[in-house]
């Protein structure tokens, strides 16, 4: 069927055409059966009518003829003779018509011929009787008429027999008609039933042809909707459904390929997200650690700054005193300016160093070194002040000796005595200043100690500050060098004072620079901390994004997995 009628449409067209043809045949057969039947009926009825009418004419005319013959014998009226002839003629005509009618059997033909012969004989006898009467031979006429009476009885019997045969014939004709009608009816019925059966078969096969493949395709669609992408429909189906099934199979195959690709991608994304998440977590953890370290660095730096501020304030006092010394000793001032120049250079170095402090650890380390150096510097200052103090004592001794000598010189030495006195006063002031410096240095030393302690804590925690300290240390080393030069220059009094002042200024500058460096460290640390926090925030965002990505990939995997799941 599929080979011949590939599609449901062609199947329907062919089947319905067959039904239509069959119904047309049935209609044609029915029409021809009815018209044939009606023609048969008409022919039969016409034959029956003509035969009946002939038989009736035969019977009636024979009766009339015999009656007229009898009357003529009785009365001799010409009209009766005429009637006898005419009815007799009509009887023979009826016999001839009967003889000519269709469908007579040989026995009927023979019977009709017998009746005709019988009637002919009777007529001949009666005609002779009539002529006998005409001749006035009444008795002979009666006798001749009586002679044919027996024939009349036989004729009557034969007519009855004919009537009976006609009745039987009619019955046979009726039966034949009924048989024909029944046969045609059965044939028509068979054709109609055939058409109906074919129609039903077409409907059934069509419904099957549609519903079977349809249910297969529905099952396929359901399977697809449940994610059974490996589901396939057998394509041995009628044409339209074959195309549909092939389309669905190819769709399912495409979907399966897409799902496989999506699954692979989702797994890759999941893996990447996992990796990203763990990386982000690690980064976040490191950032948090960095942030906490920076926080500590910052707080250490702040402590350092405040210590340096205090040291700076102390040094300001020293510098003030030193200025007072410088006022008396230009050389000292010159030296101080040299220290200052040196300090400026160092400051540039410190700027350079601060730039180098991108690496926080090294900066803090250098700061620690510097603080260490500061401590050492304070000791140096102490040593220096001790030297100044000793110089002041010796100067005081020298001035005392000079006053004694001036007093010895009398009036010639009076002016010298004034200078000696002034020198002694200067020495006293230097002594005083040295004591002040000692005190201040003690304060500084103490402060530096505190700072050193803080720095030690900071250095212990952050190497960067140590490197800053080293920078400061280097700078202060330069200051020390300058201070040594000051000391060398302060071989004289003013020089020494100026040197002192310069040293103090350099110390102040160093501290100030250390403080600024510390501030810079703190700011840098804060920046680092802030950037670390930003980084941390970014890491958290990244982590959250990675988490979202992970969740998305997991979801994607779930979806794809559900597509494959049973």
């Amino acid at each position: 069927m599929n080979l011949i009628f590939g599609t449901i449409r062609s199947r329907l067209i062919a089947g319905l055409s067959l039904v239509v043809v069959l119904l047309l045949v049935a209609g044609a057969v029915g029409r021809s059966a009815i018209s044939g039947l009606s023609a048969d009926l008409a022919r039969t009825l016409d034959g029956v009518r003509r035969e009946t009418s002939s038989t009736a004419a035969l019977t009636t005319n024979i009766a009339l003829e015999l009656a007229a013959a009898g009357r003529y014998l009785d009365r001799g009226a010409a009209a009766d003779l005429e009637s006898f002839r005419n009815t007799g003629w009509a009887a023979h005509e009826a016999q001839r018509a009967l003889n000519a009618s269709e469908g007579l059997s040989a026995s009927e033909i023979a019977l009709v011929a017998t009746i005709d012969a019988q009637l002919s004989s009777i007529e001949a006898g009666l005609a002779a009787a009539h002529r006998l009467r005409d001749l006035g031979r009444q008795a002979a006429a009666e006798s001749r008429a009586a002679a044919v009476r027996a024939q009349e009885i036989a004729l009557t019997a034969e007519i009855e027999q004919l009537a009976e045969m006609r009745a039987q014939q009619l019955e046979r004709a009726t039966t034949a008609l009924q048989d024909t009608a029944t046969r045609r009816q059965r044939f028509l019925l068979a054709v109609i039933i055939g058409a109906i059966l074919i129609g039903v078969a077409i409907v059934v096969t069509t419904v099957r042809g549609i519903s079977g493949p349809l249910s297969l395709l529905v099952a396929h669609a359901r399977a697809l909707s449940r994610g059974h992408l490996d589901f396939r429909t057998d394509t041995d189906l009628p044409g339209e459904f074959r195309e549909l099934a092939e389309a669905m199979n190819s769709s399912a195959a495409n979907l399966a390929r897409v799902a496989a690709a999506a699954t692979g991608t989702a797994e890759e994304v999941a893996t990447s997200a996992h990796q990203l998440t763990s990386a982000a977590e690690q980064v976040s953890l490191a950032a948090a650690q960095t942030a906490s370290a920076m926080s500590e660095v910052t707080s250490g730096a702040e402590l350092q700054v405040s210590s340096l501020r205090e040291a700076d304030a102390a040094l300001q006092g020293v510098r003030q005193r030193a200025h007072e010394v410088r006022a008396g000793a230009e050389e000292v001032a010159d030296l101080a300016s040299g220290i200052e120049r040196q300090a400026r250079e160092k400051r540039a170095e410190i700027v350079l160093a601060r730039e180098m402090l991108a690496d926080i650890r090294s900066s803090v380390d250098s700061a620690a070194i510097e603080v260490q150096a500061l401590t050492e510097t304070a000791e140096s200052i102490n040593r220096f002040v001790g030297i100044v103090s000793r110089i002041a004592e010796q100067t005081n001794l020298l001035s005392l000796n000079a006053a004694i000598e001036a007093a010895r010189a009398g009036s010639a030495g009076r002016g010298f005595a004034v200078v000696a006195d002034e020198v002694r006063k200067l020495a006293d002031q230097a002594q005083q200043a040295a004591e002040d410096v000692v005190q201040l240095t003690a304060v500084v030393t103490r402060r530096v100690g505190t700072t050193t302690q803080a720095m030690a804590i900071g250095a212990a925690r952050v190497g960067e500050i140590e490197s800053v300290s080293k920078g400061i240390d280097t700078a202060l080393t330069s200051i020390t060098t300058a201070a040594e030069q000051t000391r060398a220059a302060a071989m004289g009094l003013g020089e020494a004072a100026d040197l002192n002042v310069a040293s103090v200024g350099a110390a102040a500058l160093g501290i100030s620079s250390a403080a600024r460096a510390a501030e810079g460290h703190a700011a840098a640390a804060e920046q680092v901390s802030a950037s670390t926090q930003e980084q941390s925030a970014a890491c958290e965002e990244m982590s959250s994004a990675a988490n979202a990505l992970l969740q998305g990939s997991v979801h994607l995997k779930e979806i794809v997995a559900s597509l494959r799941a049973e």
Binding site: R96, A106, S121, A124, L135
Partner: protein, 360 residues
């Protein structure tokens, strides 16, 4: 014993012979003179044909059945012929009544070529029925005109109460110019001849027309002569047998399809052969039967024994395809009647049909 064996052998040989023969059926009232004349004409034809080598080498045979001129018997015989497959066609029937009854049986199955059945009722009765004699409707008209030409004005008409008699009488009555004083049916055996003789004597017709055959005709002529009737007696072809009683029949007028005095060579050859075989002159009955056999044999020669083919061949005998016969050329109208057959008006003189006047 030897004789018995010889008889058996000859019977077997005869049977063998009949197996291979061409067969025709023939039916008529062979007890009647006109019937016998029919049979003799047919037998002469068969003898001549077989003597000349048969039908394309096959001998011809005729199966004779006596139907007594009765329709009922004729119908039964016709049925027998139809059911006998060896019968290719039928010669006859002889009488109109028998032919009318048998025609319905032959219709559609077997060709019948009637010899002397002249009833008008046979015209067009069946495509399978033909005849070599003209119809009574034509013959009656010919006879009535002949009577009128004879100056007859007062006619008594008698007819044998059968298809032939009624048809011929009716045709005569319709065409006759004078008065018809009587129109009576009679029996073929002449039962009431005396009555009519007396009646003719009383009524004095100048012409008695009898549509019948020789028995009733001869009886009537005898009785009429006895009664002193002087009227002329006229009959149709059915009266050609009256010559069997030259005394009684003397002077009777007969419209005949054939006369032995026909001078045509074919007719004279037939007459000579008939005389040689039967020592009597042939009449129309013999001549028509002879011609009927000759026509069917011509058909058998051309198309063989197939019934339908033979009917087609017979139906095709028209115009220039006519078969020459002793009664004239034979061709058929679509009705089965012959084309252009004519009656010869004769008067019986000393037992011979002598030409009285040509009807045409």
């Amino acid at each position: 014993m030897r004789l018995s064996l010889l008889l058996l052998a000859s019977t077997l040989l005869a049977c063998g012979g009949s197996e291979s023969a061409m067969r025709l059926g023939m039916a008529g009232p062979f007890e009647e003179g006109f019937g016998l004349a029919n049979r003799r004409g047919a037998e002469l034809a068969v003898a001549e044909i077989n003597a000349a080598g048969g039908i394309n080498g096959t001998p011809l045979e005729i199966v004779y059945r006596d139907d007594q001129g009765e329709g009922s018997v004729a119908a039964a015989i016709a049925q027998d012929f139809v059911e006998d497959p060896s019968i290719a066609a039928v010669v006859g029937h002889v009488t109109s009544g028998a032919m009318v009854a048998a025609a319905k049986v032959y219709d559609g199955k077997l060709s019948a070529l009637a010899t002397t059945a002249s009833s008008a009722a046979l015209t067009g009765i069946s495509p399978w029925v033909f005849r070599v004699i003209s119809s009574d409707s034509a013959n009656g008209v010919d006879l009535a005109r002949f009577a009128s030409r004879l100056g007859k004005t007062r006619a008594a008409i008698l007819y044998e109460n059968d298809a032939y008699g009624r048809g011929l009488a009716d045709a005569f009555r319709g065409e006759f110019d004078g008065t018809v004083i009587g129109f009576d049916p009679i029996d073929a055996d002449g039962t009431d001849a005396e009555v009519y003789g007396a009646w003719f004597a009383q009524q004095k017709p100048d012409l008695v027309f009898v549509a019948g055959t020789e028995r009733s005709g001869l009886a009537l002529m005898r009785e009429a002569r006895k009664a002193g009737v002087t009227a002329e007696f006229l009959g149709g072809d059915g009266w050609t047998g009256l010559v069997m009683d030259p005394v009684a029949a003397e002077g009777a007028l007969v419209g005949a399809p054939f006369t032995a005095l026909d001078p045509r060579p074919a007719a004279q050859k037939f007459v000579a052969a008939y005389r040689a075989r039967y020592a009597a002159d042939p009449d129309g009955n013999a001549a028509l039967a002879y011609d009927a056999v000759q026509v069917l044999v011509a058909g058998l020669r051309e198309v063989g024994g197939d019934r339908a083919a033979l009917r087609e061949w017979l139906a095709a005998r028209s115009g220039d395809r006519a078969i020459p016969g002793v009664t004239g050329s034979i061709a058929f109208l679509p009705t089965g009647d012959p084309v252009g057959k004519s009656f010869v008006m004769t008067r019986i003189r000393s037992g011979a049909l002598t030409p009285a006047e040509s009807a045409k």
